[in-house]
């Protein structure tokens, strides 16, 4: 490097440092979220920017980080400075809580189990529904090929699994043994276990594998809208699970960075009419009844919760997805 380029590099470096110090004067929040919320939070963040600037005059930039829910939780545990976490399931936030980063009882701090929007599990089938798939019991028919990711690596797949289990359990004469039999049969129809929800969507949509994809409702709508209404249809089963992706302020981080007030306001904003309308636009089910009635076009479906049927996430995880759980038994030889 000659003197000139070195000088230029020094100036450039100093300039970046200077700019980042100035940027530090406006508050930056980091929202660590899971994969399919990217578009939702893009819209929400710019809306929150306007809201917060009007209210306090402060400019607030919310940075986003997306990835598999479990992986994101691990990043936060390992030191990613998230002010708020907005993950796919309470279990993952509980893991962060377990490391002392979030205070116990976090799920009671915000309404509706700290889930400002909910979703459910639906079926994506090929146009015309050639295999005539209407409900969960159609998935265990022989000759039906089902695409769902591996519940051990994918948070979304855990909702799929529990939804199927809950359906079987709630049938006449249903029992845990019958439910286990049901999911065993279902997984016999699964030709590929992708590691994540997006991978499974790819397998179904791009590779043309399988007759039905178990998917988050919002992902299913996104897939249909982006990939063509002439190719896929969404089937809503008679009953499904209420998927509650929760949100929480990471206490340790916000207290150290002094961002608690704005981080809490940010999460509360999710519950405001504006936040709820944005969630509805992205095919989540808003918890606000009024917005749900007017802004959301999602079909009515009977929903059960993890707490009702499985006694909470911690327990569900232990019974079904931990090593030696019911999912492992499906594949035990």
């Amino acid at each position: 490097m000659n003197t000139f380029t070195r000088a230029v590099a020094m100036v450039a470096f100093a300039a970046t440092m200077f700019i980042s110090t100035i940027a530090g004067a406006e508050t930056v929040l980091l929202n660590v979220s899971y994969d399919p919320t990217r578009e939702l939070y893009q819209e929400l963040n710019s809306s929150f920017f306007t809201y917060w600037k009007k209210k306090t005059g402060q400019k607030i930039t919310v940075k986003q980080s997306h990835g598999g829910s479990g992986k994101q939780a691990r990043s936060v545990i390992d030191g990613l400075e998230a002010d708020v976490v907005t993950l796919a399931l309470a279990y993952d936030i509980d893991a962060v809580r377990g490391k002392g980063l979030i205070k116990p009882g976090w799920q009671k701090r915000l309404p509706h189990n700290s889930s400002p929007y909910t979703s459910t599990i639906v079926f994506l089938v090929r146009k015309g529904n050639p295999k005539n798939i209407r409900d969960w019991n159609d998935l265990v028919r022989s000759g039906v090929s089902v695409i769902t990711p591996n519940p051990k690596t994918s948070g979304g797949a855990r909702w799929n699994y529990l939804a199927a289990w809950g359906y079987a359990l709630r049938q006449k004469g249903g029992s845990p043994a019958k439910a286990e039999q049901f999911v065993r049969q279902l997984f016999r129809n699964v030709p590929v276990l992708d590691s994540g929800a997006r991978g499974a969507t790819n397998t179904f949509v791009q590779r043309g594998l399988g007759d039905v994809l178990l998917a988050w409702e919002n992902e299913a709508f996104l897939a249909v809208n982006e990939l063509g209404k002439d190719k896929f249809e969404i089937i809503t089963p008679s009953v499904s699970i209420l998927a509650e992706p929760p949100v929480a302020v990471v206490d340790k981080v916000v207290d150290r960075r002094g961002t608690r007030a704005v981080a809490e306001a940010y999460l509360k904003y999710l519950y405001s009419p504006e936040g709820q309308a944005i969630a509805a636009r992205h095919y989540y089910r808003p918890v606000d009844r009024k917005i749900a009635a007017t802004g959301s076009k999602l079909p009515k479906v009977k929903l059960f919760t993890v707490d009702e049927v499985f006694g909470g996430w911690e327990k569900a995880q232990k019974t079904h997805f931990a090593d030696g759980g019911t999912f492992d038994r499906v594949y035990a030889r």
């Binding site: 992986k71 690596t153 276990l193 992708d194 790819n202 791009q206 590779r207 931990a322 594949y331 030889r333």
Partner: protein, 275 residues
């Protein structure tokens, strides 16, 4: 008598050796010892149960078996490619030479998605071979294909310079002395190339064992059948079971290291026997 310090031809052995050791420790040994330390959170009994669970054992078989197969294929065809690139001139040679390195540069996930697209039942290759009863995507074969893809550059790039150094005169001399073409190849060419082939093989093998990104998209990931060990590690991490994940990682590490050491020794031996 000559007990005084042995002097070296090149000055600066001590600082360079010191630097090498320091650098290796910082870049390789430090993270590895952190890994060992995390696994040490388990008792011996727990460790053994974790790393010998049937599903984990099945995954070793899949991973190491496929990696060996892929490295063998790469050794064979890598030599062929290197040979063609060194010995012949043809239009577009430089382009092909550059293409060899592509698997290095391509993000592995992209490679995996591309391979899955090509080999799935509606893909270019898949729609030809599936009617013949050969399924590649979402079977263990897919794993081998992905490993071959990512390992291709290693053998080519290690054998190529050796072939370039090899003068055609030696072959001519062999021919003059009455060697058949096969004899020339097995007695003259192969011994010279063998150490390089072994290095390439070892590198391709090691790379294949650690590969995750591309395989995951084409493997199907069915437990006991097409589940690779790195996936099991990810699975453990997903359950926040750091100790279990690192335990399996330690097993992979030790196995890979032993294999690499063995290949290194073999290479040394073949170099000596060639000389």
């Amino acid at each position: 008598m000559f007990a005084q310090k042995r002097s070296h031809l090149l000055p600066g052995l001590k600082p360079t050796l010191g630097y090498t050791v320091f650098y290796l420790s910082l870049i390789v040994l430090l993270p590895l010892s952190a890994l060992m330390l995390k696994a040490a959170g388990l008792t011996w009994q727990e460790f053994v149960t974790t790393v010998t669970a049937p599903r984990v054992i099945a995954s070793y078989r899949v991973t190491f078996g496929a990696a060996l197969g892929a490295a063998a294929v790469n050794a064979l065809f890598g030599v062929l490619v290197a040979w063609v690139l060194v010995r012949y001139t043809f239009p577009g040679k430089r382009l092909i030479d550059a293409l060899i390195d592509l698997p290095f540069a391509l993000p592995t996930a992209v490679a995996g998605i591309t391979l899955a697209t090509v080999y799935s039942s509606n893909g270019w290759i898949g729609q030809i071979i599936e009617p013949l009863g050969i399924k590649v995507a979402y079977t263990p074969r897919g794993i081998i294909v992905a490993m071959i893809f990512i390992g291709l550059p290693f053998v080519v790039r290690t054998v190529q310079p050796v072939l370039e150094e090899l003068e055609t005169e030696t072959e001519e001399a062999a021919a003059c002395l009455g060697a058949s073409r096969l004899q020339t190849f097995t007695r003259v060419l192969l011994p010279t190339m063998l150490p390089a082939i072994l290095t390439g093989f070892a590198l391709a093998f090691a790379r294949a064992i650690g590969e995750y990104g591309s395989i995951i998209f084409i493997a199907g990931n069915m437990p006991n059948i097409s589940e690779i060990t790195p996936l099991i590690i990810i699975t453990k991490l997903e359950q926040f079971d750091y100790a279990g994940a690192t335990a399996i990682a330690v097993v992979m590490l030790v196995a890979s290291f032993t294999l690499l050491l063995g290949i290194n020794l073999l290479q040394k031996w073949s170099r000596r026997s060639a000389a």
